[in-house]
Symmetry: C2
Subunit: 333 residues, 2 copies
């Protein structure tokens, strides 16, 4: 690894000049530039990023903290992030919190033990108070249903409206016993709460009374929990004629359970999910779902970060960005 000084020595110029050639900032005499560039190319000069960061006070790194990478929704989102960050010449470091409060706290207070210029976090376990209290010292963007906290921006879709819409769609299809899968009383990230609120609101508007018998808890948002919840619902008594699952993974689990019991979808039970993950499109029948505009979630979050990193107007009030969503009606309901 050669440094600017090595190059300077070989070219018989000062480091300043080499630096200028590399950065292209200040002007350099054409002859000098050419000579220096030749050496640069020859040795394959690579600037030392650590030195640059130290000097600039910036690392060019941004953190993305999500509960888990193996979940399709977050994997798709992370992919879009990495892509968008690349376009902005940022590199993404990924942390998995596993929905663990300690992990989330650690990230916020120490920015991951890693110097990042900004952090995008999808909090699951941390209470709003704790979120506000933490001060990572860098701009933070919150993803998800939690309202924007303190100085953090927030990017999310309108979950209440989306859930209402999904439920209404099932009701308009003539369904009357519409169940919900995905209640999570153990978490406080707002996701399940808001989706249930939307679900109940839709029922109410249709003159139906929400019933605890039709609402099933889910330990996680994964397929396995969907299987469990669906089975529980079916074991409770008269089967629902429709199910709104708070995530596509839960819906796919429910679909699996329904088929295992030889119930037909959508004839016997209509099914709507949430997230629009790739799997859902190729399930059989293809899953009707609420599709958040994921590309826009990633893009807007990066934009928030960029704004705060490059124009550190300290008093700027926190932004609450609502991205659009669409109900994709496919075969399942």
């Amino acid at each position: 690894m050669s440094s600017l000084r090595d190059i300077a020595l070989r070219a018989g110029v000062s480091v300043r000049t080499v630096s200028n050639v590399v950065s292209g900032a200040a002007s350099v005499a054409p002859a000098t530039r050419q000579r220096v560039q030749a050496i640069l190319d020859e040795v394959g000069y690579q600037p030392n990023l650590a030195a640059r960061s130290l000097r600039a006070g910036r690392t060019g790194l941004i953190g993305l903290a999500i509960p888990e990478l193996h979940s399709p929704y977050f994997a798709e989102l992370a992919g879009l992030f990495v892509e968008g960050a690349r376009r902005r010449s940022w590199t993404v470091v990924i942390d998995q919190t596993s929905g663990d409060a300690d992990a989330e706290r650690r990230l916020l207070t120490r920015t991951g033990g890693r110097a990042v210029d900004g952090l995008v976090i999808s909090p699951w376990a941390l209470s709003p108070a704790e979120l506000t209290a933490a001060d990572p010292g860098v701009p933070v963007v919150l993803l998800g249903e939690r309202p924007p906290q303190g100085l953090y921006d927030r990017v999310a879709l309108d979950s209440v409206a989306a859930a209402d819409q999904a439920t209404t769609h099932l009701l308009e299809g003539g369904r009357r016993r519409v169940a919900a899968i995905g209640v999570q009383s153990h978490l406080h990230n707002g996701t399940a709460e808001q989706r249930r609120t939307g679900y109940r609101r839709a029922l109410g508007r249709a003159g139906l009374r929400p019933s605890p018998d039709l609402e099933a808890e889910a330990a996680s948002l994964h397929r396995e929990s969907g299987v469990r919840a669906m089975n529980e619902l079916l074991d409770r008594g008269p089967a629902p004629d429709a199910v709104f699952a708070f995530s596509d993974e839960l819906a796919l689990g429910a679909l699996y359970a329904l088929r295992t019991r030889s119930l037909r979808v959508p004839e016997d039970v209509a099914l709507v999910g949430f997230d629009d993950i790739e799997d859902g499109r190729y399930a059989f029948p293809p899953l009707t779902t609420v599709a958040p505009d994921k590309a826009q979630i990633a893009e807007r979050a990066l934009q928030c970060l960029a704004d705060r990193i490059y124009s550190p107007g300290d008093g700027v009030p926190s932004l609450d960005v609502v991205v659009p969503h669409r109900l994709l009606v496919r075969g399942s309901g």
Copy 2:
């Protein structure tokens, strides 16, 4: 952000002493230590990682370069990586190459424009020669079927044996027209080639002659290509009675196509995939598949990196690590 010097000033000691307290390396008089620690805690001291990196010549960052994060197999693998890296106090920066030769080349020659201590890359587009030629200046571990190159270690499963085993399983089930989905003549990453080799070998051993009619190309390894390939196979003439797909995603696409045409799985067509992604377990019927030991892939790759980073014995020949796999027989075949 306070530095060691700030702390030293406030504590009336030298930076040396504060550094010792922080690192715990050298011994410090108990009284001094306590006093310094109190100030450290009070201001919430965070060491500047850029400075540390510059000094140490290491960044604590490792790169993971994969074709795409939104593909379940790579997402699961990435999750395991991030987790294993965390245990080793490394942070993972993720790059997506999209199977693009330029992107792969850029990563190898410039280590992603980012200073990483090591790189794990799953090459798709780059030819062996190009792989060998590149010199990233840091240890590299190759993932996948490509044989180990030059100084790079390699971690992979025995794809030929695995494909043979999957195909043999179908043949032992009494199937005679066993098709293969996933041939990729446009790529040269070895994956498709090796799986086809194993497939043909199994056919040969059973006294069957491989037929081009039963081998279908796949533009990608995604569900969509699986749908297309399966339809093509069915349109060609007499339907196969079994299909070995080179990835679970392809298999799920094939499953979708089969069901759309009202063919029963496994009664009419038995189906085996490759990768053991989560989706496959909840497909209906659940997908029989070759399960690579993903945890071990991640773990061994990290271990290779650690060995080379911490014991830079320069001449150590490149390692070729073969991780185990299992055939998981489920409902589809």
